[in-house]
Amino acid sequence: MADTSVQGEGRRGALPAWPWKLVKLGATVALTFLGLLLVTFLIGRVVPVDPVLAVIGDRASQSVYDRVFVELGLDRPLYEQFWMYLQRVASGDFGESFLTKKPIAQDIARVFPATMELATVSIILGTLAGVPLGVLAAVRQGRLTDQIVRVVGLIGYSAPIFWLGLLGLLVFYARLHWVSGPGRIDISYEYSITPASGFLLFDTAMQGQWDAFRNVFGHIILPASLLGYYSMAYISRMTRSFMLTELAQEYIITARVKGVPEWRIIWVHALRNAAVPLVTVIALSYAGLLEGSVLTETVFAWPGLGQYLTNSLQNADMNAVLGGTLVIGGIFVGLNLLSDLLYTLLDPRVRRK
């Protein structure tokens, strides 16, 4: 009965059924996470790494091995182990890294801001360059501008990022001295700023340390430009194709008939419609960047999530790998939700359904 009354309300369209929507949203998120946890848990069980050995080392006696085996709960059935895993994760305990000997949550809190800062600057650069270029290419379809944008994008797609990174360091750091070298910040500044959010651009700006800010900026701009270039290649291609679809619509002719200036037709009428699918494209690019780009982080000695995860994998530090995987999964779920939300904000047609 309760169910029909809610649906009835939705049909009348007087009130958007927000509480019901939130419940549905919550259920979706919870289920997604449960699935994610199950997968990471099972991965942790099928990899040929003995968790006991990882704790005690391979020279301990059999009795120690047996005791730790029981302590870790490995003698219990799998579903009980999963339940324990869930309880631990729910309380924010992802276990300890064998490598750093610190709780995983603490490790991730240290490396994730580095990746997120880089990803955020990159996606901003990629969007700011990619969307206008895509629009331009669509408006000048088939002409020289279109071809140039296409070639520039193609290079972004196909050039390996580590190669571009090394080239960039060689040219802009070693030769021209325009940017700073690898790392997030010069050592001379590293201990002069109080870590707050972990986002160095933000922290230094907040604390008014403009020298340090400039230093951080000099470090981030080259890797961020490269990653941004890579996103730009994708975003500009997608923008171009979305814009071509929109520019062929009847409402564009209506706008022309109304005497709307061409710039307004392109940037307001068409782009506003193309923005709806673009949001998803940009959100997914951002999610990809947040995973941490292993190659870029290695070339630029960037202490981020990608480097941390690769390190952990190479050393069979399963707790760290699982924790990192969960974080990445969480980011994907979060960004998907965000893009869904933006989607409804941008497109009135999906608002009341």
Binding site: Y251, I253, T254, R256, V257, K258, G259, R272, P348
Partner: protein
């Protein structure tokens, strides 16, 4: 002087076998009257309308010996001249409000955008409301705040008409304005269009495939076939139509009495296209 004069208008599109002319030498003049253009799909009637507004698609080309609107030569009009004309002095009601209204803009914003061509920001909103009332929308405030998908086809088309007449243009082209609507709504929308055009004394080009509808609504009718005008008639003289194509168009309408069954197929002849 006539409002619009068209002489030897041609619209061509490139194809794999060379350019294809879809409008082939259409000529007519229009005063402040109602002219109907009738023809089957592909006869070039819509492209004629679009060429007058300078909206031939980029791939196509339109040429004419003479294309004058109120003494202005449209053939070599600059983009700035076009923008000054379109919307303000000539406009067009399009076929299907589902596609011809911007889906992510409210009706109000779209109306105001059109009204801003001739009035200040403050006036534009009042004008939009008044115009919606003029097309017999009872609750203009609600429609102003609505998005196109929230309106019925008839309401959407009335909003479209309001948007195109808000600047009180001298020439209105209505390209199949009721073809996408239910038959019951068609009459209503047509009556509104008719009243507004008559009140404001503007020139109207009414493009349709429905010969009887056009003749009941217009002063003069051009019958187009394969890009050419095959016959020009006063609407009242429809019965005296000479051209076999026009007669064919008239005969293929079903009648309640008379039991014409099966309906005759529309005859076409290669020689008419020459």
């Amino acid at each position: 002087m006539s409002l619009l004069s068209v002489d030897d208008l041609r619209v061509a599109f490139p194809s794999r076998h060379g350019p294809v002319e879809v409008v082939r030498g259409v000529s007519f003049t229009l005063g402040r009257e109602r002219l109907g253009i009738v023809g089957e799909s592909g006869s070039g009637k819509s492209q004629t309308g679009r060429a007058i507004l300078g909206l031939t698609p980029h791939s196509g080309t339109s040429t004419a010996k003479r294309l004058e609107f109120d003494g202005i030569d449209l053939r070599n009009a600059t983009p700035a001249q076009w923008r000054a004309l379109r919307g303000a002095r000539m406009s067009m009601v399009m076929q299907d409000p589902k596609f011809s209204l911007n889906p992510v803009m409210t009706i109000g914003r779209q109306l105001i955008e059109a009204a801003r061509r001739v009035s200040s920001r403050a006036e534009a909103r009042d004008k939009a409301t008044a115009m919606l009332e003029a097309v017999q929308i009872r609750d203009p405030a609600r429609v102003m705040a609505a998005y196109p998908h929230e309106l019925s086809g008839g309401m959407g088309q009335r909003a479209m008409i309001a948007m195109m007449l808000i600047t009180e243009p001298d020439l209105l082209i209505a390209d199949e304005p009721t073809s996408a609507l239910d038959v019951t709504v068609q009459v209503e929308v047509l009556r509104i269009l008719d009243d507004l055009v008559t009140d404001r004394g503007m020139g109207l080009i009414f493009i349709s495939h429905d010969l009887r509808l056009v003749s009941s609504f217009c002063d003069r009718v051009l019958v187009m076939y394969a890009g050419r005008v095959v016959e020009e008639l006063r609407a009242s003289d429809l019965g005296a139509a000479q051209h076999p194509y026009t007669r064919g168009l008239m005969n293929c309408l079903p009648q309640i009495k008379g039991g014409q069954r099966p309906l005759p197929t529309l005859q076409r002849d290669e020689s008419w296209a020459l």
